[in-house]
């Protein structure tokens, strides 16, 4: 067991975005996190990263924080900042360099290899502001590669990315999975989930279904997810379920 959530409620002010969630995720799982907009998927990832604290319940992780890598949604990265592709990818070596350390030659080779694997050879000196959406996503994946984390959390990794890049990045995710890494990805393309992700969690603030993808992504489960999501009440009473 690499991760377990016990009666977990996450939210903003007192509004729950994830409500009474209890799940356990095995080491090496390749899990898709699906659900309607506003279902709490990104909030759950932020909770797992420790960026927001539980309003109730707990998260237990059987690994160090440094062994978790997180890919934020692209919109959260300021691409106008004057940083080159190489400098951005080298930030992935933080576990080894920390805030002050120099980038050793082994890490420089790692950065070069990551750029190569993501098809970014020749882009080393390019500024981030000159990249397309797909190229930027490759850069962020290259940084993940350099991070060498045991658990990888991906927040909408294919939004605004063309099909060829998506296929390349999916292959990378599968190779990480083959290496035994645990991967949790927020996704919207259900065909993609069915083809590439053996496990899924359908979330609509509460866990609607969790397990094998085929049994989770049923029409009945989606109906329930949408109904729960639409029932969001700004003036709801205090929750009494514990």
């Amino acid at each position: 067991m690499i991760l377990s959530c016990e009666n977990l409620t996450l939210g903003y002010e007192s509004h729950p975005a994830v409500h009474h969630l209890t799940i356990q995720i095995e080491r090496g799982a390749l899990l898709a996190l699906v659900g309607p907009n506003g279902a709490g998927k990104s909030t759950l990832l932020k909770g797992l990263m420790g960026q927001i604290h539980p309003l109730e319940g707990s998260i237990k992780l059987d690994l160090e924080k440094a062994d978790i890598a997180y890919l934020p949604q692209q919109s959260q990265v300021d691409r106008t900042f004057p940083l080159s592709v190489q400098e951005m990818v080298a930030m992935g070596a933080w576990k080894h360099t920390g805030a002050f350390g120099r980038l050793k030659s082994i890490h420089k080779r790692q950065v070069a290899s990551a750029l190569n694997q993501l098809g970014l050879k020749g882009f080393e000196k390019r500024m981030l502001s000159t990249l397309s959406g797909g190229q930027m996503q490759r850069v962020l994946f290259a940084r993940l590669l350099v991070q060498e984390a045991e658990m990888i959390l991906l927040d909408e990794p294919f939004t605004g990315v063309d099909s060829r890049t998506t296929q390349d990045l999916l292959r990378m995710i599968e190779s990480w999975s083959e290496q035994g890494k645990t991967i949790i990805a927020v996704l919207h393309d259900l065909e993609q989930v069915k083809t590439h992700f053996p496990q899924s969690l359908l979330l609509s603030r509460e866990a609607i279904a969790f397990g094998e993808t085929a049994s989770v992504l049923t029409e009945a489960n989606w109906r329930k997810a949408r109904q729960l999501n639409e029932a969001f009440d700004e003036h709801a009473d205090h929750c009494g379920t514990h």
């Binding site: 960026q51 959260q76 990265v77 300021d78 940083l83 933080w94 805030a99």
Partner: protein, 288 residues
């Protein structure tokens, strides 16, 4: 030519002192300005310059025109506003610019109140416009110390600060340094504004931060070049501004800022990156 460009600095010790003081401010304030600009916080420098006023005023009331007292007061007032507005924005839903605006306005009102009830307009003019040509030993030591502290702290928090500016979620995922990077940067902004007000005055010292980086952006692209080039522009402007001030008897602070302002105007008109000229004259495109 020697008489025009070098002799004033050889003959007069007040010109040497002014040059050394202004160079120290250039080397510390310009890099801070680059980060302010990249974080889209250019106007924060202006807000913070107002925020240090009550501290400087209290320092003046307690010890007269004592640099130590006014500096200490300015640092306390500036850091209080920076930390309070940072805390309020991190603990509530309100963005930092709004909370900073609120706190600096309160601070400014307190400052003006203290000065108008106890001081005179001459004192206020000193705080606003400084006196670069009357820097004593204490002021020079202070400016040198602020320059050393700024460059050392900036070197220490450089990597986290870059990430704090452009990918805060990543920084938060790999370390706990996000608030340290943010607040130490704000403290550096305050330190430099306080340092600047001795030589140039609070309002003019903001120009030493913002104008070099704003102009440099039109010439260079990478972060290291932006830092170097903005320092260079600040140093050159100080030198030319001091000469202007000497030869045609202009007040020093405005002279330096006007030189920087002219460089900024030239930069956005004809700079190599994204200037008006590059928009008007479209070069031939390269092969695909």
């Amino acid at each position: 030519m020697f008489e025009l460009l070098v002799l004033p600095f050889v003959e007069f010790s007040f010109m040497q002192r002014a040059l050394v003081g202004c160079l120290a401010i250039s080397l510390s304030a310009a890099p801070i300005g680059v980060f302010l600009m990249l974080r889209r916080m250019s106007l924060t420098g202006d807000a913070m310059a107002h925020a240090i006023l009550p501290g400087a005023a209290v320092g003046f009331l307690v010890s007269g025109l004592s640099i130590q007292a006014m500096t200490l007061g300015g640092i306390v007032a500036g850091c209080t506003v920076a930390v309070l507005s940072g805390l309020v924005s991190r603990m509530t839903e309100v963005a930092e610019d709004a909370s900073m605006a609120a706190f600096y306005l309160i601070s400014l009102a307190v400052g003006v109140l203290i000065i108008s009830m106890n001081g005179s307009q001459v004192d206020l003019l000193h705080v606003l416009f400084g006196s670069a040509l009357a820097l004593n030993d204490e002021a020079l030591y202070l400016l040198g110390a602020i320059c050393c502290i700024t460059l050392s702290v900036l070197a220490c928090v450089f990597r986290p600060l870059v990430l704090e500016c452009m990918d805060r979620l990543f920084l938060q995922s790999v370390s706990r340094l996000s608030p340290i990077a943010h607040f130490s940067f704000l403290v550096l902004v305050v330190l430099n504004l306080v340092g600047g007000f001795n030589a140039l005055g609070t309002l003019m010292s903001v120009g030493m931060m913002i104008l070099p980086s704003a102009a440099a952006r039109y010439w260079v692209k990478s972060l290291d070049m932006l830092l170097l080039f903005s320092c260079l522009l600040a140093v050159v402007s100080c030198y030319v501004g001091l000469l202007l001030s000497y030869h045609i008897a202009w007040p020093t602070g405005p002279s330096i800022i006007l030189i920087l302002g002219s460089i900024y105007i030239i930069s956005f008109l004809v700079g190599a990156n994204g200037s008006m000229l590059t928009h008007l004259v479209k070069p031939k495109h390269l092969t695909a």
